[in-house]
């Protein structure tokens, strides 16, 4: 065995990772070579010194304190802040949705009451004093309709119904009331 071969295997040799046959060769070389023998002694001394580099034990009280701190920074933080925040957030969302629902119902109910309370009259579309003129009469010879009655065409009725259904939450109430009153509906047109 050459010195360079020995030095290449030195780490494995002191770590006990070399096969027996090669290890025997190295032992033999050690007995014959002073330089390699010195290097081996130096490497072995270093390994032993490194292995002896102990760390002072900080003590049980330190370990307990440190473990408590880690648990507080992890498990404790997890169980207090995020969960609370989540609960509060959930509660707020629930309250918001309930308020929203209540407001919608209130508007709808009020609209239905207002609509039903007109009892066959529309304050907006059919004021008693107003005289409504049929749009088609604008460019034709004016034929006055029956006073106080709003009688649009079928198209206008459909448009009105559609607009009301797509409008505010009070729209269904108004539409219902208007249908019941027969306002804007030509009684004969539906039957055609």
């Amino acid at each position: 065995m050459t010195c360079s071969h020995f030095m290449a295997l030195l780490d494995g040799f002191i770590d006990g990772e070399i096969e027996t046959a090669i290890s025997d060769e190295m032992q033999h070389h050690l007995r014959e070579c002073n330089d390699c023998s010195n290097e081996y002694a130096s490497a072995l001394r270093l390994k032993k010194t490194l292995a002896d580099m102990t760390v002072p034990d900080p003590g049980n009280e330190y370990w307990q304190e440190t473990t408590d701190i880690i648990m507080a920074r992890t498990v404790g933080a997890d169980s207090s802040q995020p969960h609370n925040a989540e609960t509060v957030s959930d509660k707020r969302a629930f309250v918001r949705s309930m308020l929203s629902l209540a407001a919608s119902l209130l508007i709808l109910f009020t609209a239905m009451l207002l609509g039903a309370g007109q009892d066959g009259q529309s304050i907006l579309l059919n004021p008693p004093s107003a005289e409504v003129v049929h749009p088609s009469s604008i460019n034709q010879d004016s034929v006055p309709m029956q006073q106080g009655v709003f009688a649009p065409t079928d198209d206008q009725t459909r448009l009105l119904r559609g607009t009301l259904l797509l409008a505010s939450p009070g729209a269904p109430g108004l539409a219902t009331a208007m249908a019941r009153m027969g306002v804007g509906v030509n009684p004969t047109s539906d039957k055609k």
């Binding site: 490194l50 102990t54 900080p58 003590g59 330190y62 440190t66 473990t67 880690i70 920074r73 992890t74």
Partner: protein, 189 residues
């Protein structure tokens, strides 16, 4: 009956906080020793212990794909130690750290020095080695610390550093050779 590490890790992943506490108890001294050997002070070692386990907790969902818990732990601890090394240019000595600790912990530290044959000569040699270790590049230094001081196997270190075992052998060989030369030079002067 004591649970095995894989059982504890599994319980920890599933949200069992007592399993996490048990993992801390089983590994805290190893992480402390590792941090102490790399950074050379009690306060830094304490920082490494806390931060390592906090990071482990935050990454608990990743743990399912981890093969060996101990090497995962070493990887996190060494990465954090390297970060600290880069951030802190100067390092305080153990005596300085101890003086800043509360009295009862100083007492425990004094009680905890375990080796009665810790002679002046041994201390001097260890200080020399510590200084020599400081001069090594991080990977070589960490490999020497993990293998020769803390006793981890080459395969464990390879797993922790996510590199081939041949790289660990190479780093260890270079580190040992440099340390021998540095110590010989100091001895000669």
């Amino acid at each position: 009956m004591l649970k095995s590490i894989p059982e504890l890790v599994n319980d920890f992943i599933e949200g069992d906080d007592s399993a996490f506490a048990e993992l801390i108890r089983r590994y805290r001294d190893k992480i402390y020793a590792l941090g102490y050997q790399i950074l050379g002070s009690h306060l830094d070692a304490d920082d490494v212990v806390q931060e390592t386990f906090v990071r482990i907790y935050r990454r608990r969902r990743e743990m399912a794909s981890v093969k060996y818990f101990s090497t995962f732990l070493i990887r996190i601890a060494t990465n954090y130690s390297i970060d600290l090394l880069r951030k802190r240019k100067s390092r305080s000595a153990l005596s300085d750290d101890a003086s800043s600790l509360p009295g009862h912990i100083q007492l425990d530290l004094a009680r905890g020095v375990p080796n009665p044959s810790d002679t002046f000569e041994q201390k001097r040699v260890m200080e020399e080695i510590r200084k020599a270790l400081d001069l090594l590049p991080p990977k070589q230094r960490l490999t020497a610390i993990l293998h020769d001081i803390e006793g981890y196997s080459k395969s464990e270190i390879a797993e922790a550093f996510d590199c081939p075992e041949a790289t660990v052998r190479s780093n260890l060989h270079i580190a040992r050779t440099k340390l021998r030369k540095l110590l010989k030079r100091r001895k000669d002067t």
